[in-house]
């Protein structure tokens, strides 16, 4: 990597000066951004009132731009596969140190609360802020707490794989069903009327997809965390 330059004072001051210069230029350019341009967001909000859910961001993430989320899930899937490939350690019997008693009891009582909080965020993703990504990672942080505190605790790989695969396959199947029924990939084929806007069962496939995303993100994040922790402890 021939990017490195020696850390002399000339280097720093040269960089600072050029940064200041470019900063002012950028400021002038970004400042005269037109304020009242008619962004696509406005139209989407109107469209959301008709066939979206209460949380407009969830509608955009899952339904209007659902293909980005499918790609996003693929990125996370490949990342957890890569971390597993790199850091998977076959034989690591009793390598983690036994943590003290207080941490164990505290984590044993905290885990159900965190799990419930994660499930709440995931399930109510289309009504209040939150959703699949955030709920999944909250659950993964709960699993992380157990991984740290309990020596013999380990999420069995078969559970992670089955959850991950079922969620991913069902997400693509929902897309294909939408393709068959409405001739648009990821179309919202479950009819839902606007009166149900604030209710839990509203928005057709949107909450279903977000719960699937949550399961997948949760299993993959705990897989990454588990690999990182086991590998680190195997020093």
């Amino acid at each position: 990597m021939s990017l490195k330059r020696s850390l002399s004072t000339v280097g720093i001051s040269g960089f600072a000066l050029s940064a200041l210069l470019v900063l002012t230029v950028l400021n002038i350019i970004i400042q005269n951004i037109p304020r009242n341009i008619q962004t696509a967001g406005g139209e989407l909000l109107k469209l959301n009132e008709k066939d979206g859910v209460a949380n407009a961001v969830t509608t955009v993430v899952v339904y209007f731009r659902g293909f980005d989320t499918l790609g996003e899930i693929a990125v996370l899937f490949i990342a957890s596969l890569g971390v597993g490939l790199m850091l998977h350690v076959k034989c690591q019997k009793d390598i983690k140190r036994e943590s003290n008693f207080m941490l164990q009891t505290a984590s044993r009582y905290l885990f159900p609360v965190i799990l419930l909080f994660g499930i709440y965020i995931m399930v109510y993703g289309h009504l209040s802020p939150g959703g699949g990504f955030q709920g999944g990672v909250v659950i993964a942080s709960g699993v992380l707490l157990l991984l740290i505190s309990h020596k013999k605790f380990e999420v069995p790989y078969s559970v992670i794989v089955t959850l991950e695969t079922l969620a991913g396959v069902s997400y693509v199947f929902i897309g294909l069903i939408g393709l068959m029924v409405l001739d648009t990939f990821l179309g919202n084929f479950i009819p839902q009327d606007v009166s149900q806007m604030g209710m839990l069962i509203s928005g057709g496939i949107i909450p279903v997809i977000y719960i699937i995303v949550g399961i997948k993100v949760g299993s993959e994040m705990s897989h990454i965390a588990q690999n990182l922790i086991q590998r680190a402890d195997y020093v």
Partner: protein, 482 residues
């Protein structure tokens, strides 16, 4: 049969593989090849009746994401699927040695790479292009670091670092585009990109150039390419130079044609491409490691395609499409032969060619090199001829001279290699080339010769494809009007 299947099916297969592998590794490998064959038939079926067709995903454009199916994007998708299918067939022949290419993880990454390069080529939404940019990137990082040797990991790290920096600049460009124009659909952006004040247009163009420049392997930003090629295995290099580089090249120029239809910065791009070809070929002269040498040759050919696309006229783009096809086939041959040599002889120094005792491989390698050089009877000739002709017509003699000199340098080190191959030195033990491997090489060589001898088969379709690619006004009306 919609074009979304090109992305949805490999993703479905990738997601299902961890559970499928419980049935047995062979089942997964055969299922992957079967799925790729199905996609190949689908692409040929669509190739017959290709009309400008917009595939809506979840809601209609300009608010939603949509795939645009025209002859250019379908051509690239067909080439990608054809290359992946041949690659899978070649890997199938390694079944008995149980080497790593048949592990389920490798198959998942291969399919994800196919899905993301197809998505890159088909998508018409700039943030969707960024997502596929990341998927292709992240599967390429893992493929290059797959063998977990120190040099492979170093290659993976360098690839990941440059990829991450490139994606930061690309997100910065997308942010400025949305703030100034208010939409993410390429057609809407293209319409109002002209009306932007010049400094905003310049800033967005610079950020897009840096973002894509790393991946398009253009001169100032391609310092990392040869290290990655040298670190990762030759099989994976075949995928990189065949599929990944072409997908990024097409997306970059698809955006350039849409945003700057009257070619504002095209002079800069043309000279940059010519300079980067010259630098790559000169650097290739003194290489002793075969992988590094062919990495520089890939850089040179990609720079030639870059220059041809930057010329922005129909002849040049038709020539570029010819070179894309010829270069993909030739590089697949070269890197598969290199993988074979690396596996059997465990060394990829130049002198190993002296001891290569496999007349079939030597002949196949020779034909691939001749086609890359542009020798008349082979596929590379037609493309290079069209590009040089359009350069002469548009009066860019300086660039013409640069490209001819670069091709001469390339000829020097290719003939040096040919000399090594056919020198009289003592030979190592005879290499046994499997039947499937021989048929894959034979098919590729036949294609190179057929395109070289009778280019008129493709020139009609490629001419129409280049017209469609350059005709951005029609692209915009189809998306917005349609």
């Amino acid at each position: 049969m919609s074009s979304v299947l090109f992305v949805a099916l490999p993703l479905l297969f990738g997601f299902a593989t961890p559970l499928l592998s419980r049935l047995g590794k062979d089942a997964v490998a055969y299922a992957s090849v079967a799925m790729q064959l199905f996609l190949l038939c689908l692409s040929f079926y669509l190739l017959e009746s290709v009309s400008l067709h917009v595939e809506i995903i979840s809601i209609a454009p300009p608010l939603g994401i949509s795939f645009v199916l025209n002859s250019v994007s379908l051509l690239f998708v067909t080439v990608f699927i054809f290359l992946t299918t041949l690659f899978s067939f070649y890997c199938l022949s390694h079944r008995e040695t149980g080497s790593y290419e048949n592990e389920t993880k490798f198959l998942i990454l291969l399919n994800m790479l196919l899905a993301s390069s197809a998505g890159l080529v088909l998508s018409s939404d700039i943030f969707n292009i960024y997502v596929f940019f990341e998927i292709a990137g992240i599967s390429a990082y893992i493929l290059s670091a797959y063998r977990k040797t120190p040099s492979a990991l170093e290659a993976g790290l360098k690839y990941l670092l440059t990829g991450a920096v490139a994606s930061v600049f690309l997100v910065f460009a997308i942010v400025l585009i949305y703030l100034n124009i208010g939409s993410l659909n390429l057609a809407v952006i293209a319409q109002s990109f002209e009306a932007l004040p010049f400094n905003v247009k310049l800033l967005i163009s610079i950020l897009l150039f840096i973002g894509f420049g790393f991946k398009v392997e253009i001169f100032p930003l391609n310092f990392w390419v040869t290290d990655v090629y040298q670190g990762s295995s030759s099989l994976v290099n075949a995928l990189f130079s065949g599929i990944v580089a072409k997908a990024y090249l097409f997306v970059f120029f698809h955006i350039v044609y849409l945003f700057l239809p009257d070619g504002d910065f095209s002079a800069f791009l043309i000279y940059l491409g010519a300079v980067s070809m010259l630098v790559a070929e000169i650097a290739g002269l003194k290489q002793t490691n075969l992988k590094r040498l062919f990495a520089y040759s890939s850089l040179g050919q990609v720079a030639l395609i870059f220059t041809a696309f930057a010329l922005q006229n129909e002849d040049a783009v038709q020539g570029a499409l010819f070179i894309v096809i010829a270069h993909s086939f030739a590089k697949l041959i070269i890197f598969l032969v290199l993988a074979f040599i690396e596996k059997e002889y465990e060394s990829i120094h130049i002198d190993i060619l002296k001891e290569l005792n496999a007349p079939f491989l030597r002949a196949v390698l020779l034909i691939a090199m001749l086609s890359l050089l542009g020798i008349p009877l082979f596929a590379g000739f037609v493309g290079k001829l069209l590009v040089l002709k359009s350069l002469a017509v548009s009066g860019m003699l300086g660039v013409l001279v640069m490209i001819v000199i670069a091709s001469l340098f390339e000829a020097v080190y290719y003939f040096k290699l040919a000399g090594y191959m056919f020198s009289k030195g003592e030979r190592r033990g005879a290499l046994h080339v499997g039947f499937i491997q021989k048929s894959v090489f034979a098919l590729l060589v036949i294609l190179l010769i057929v395109i070289g001898v009778a280019p008129f088969i493709l020139s009609g379709f490629l001419g129409e494809a280049s017209r469609v690619m350059l005709d951005s006004a029609n692209y915009i009306t189809v998306i917005l009007g349609g």
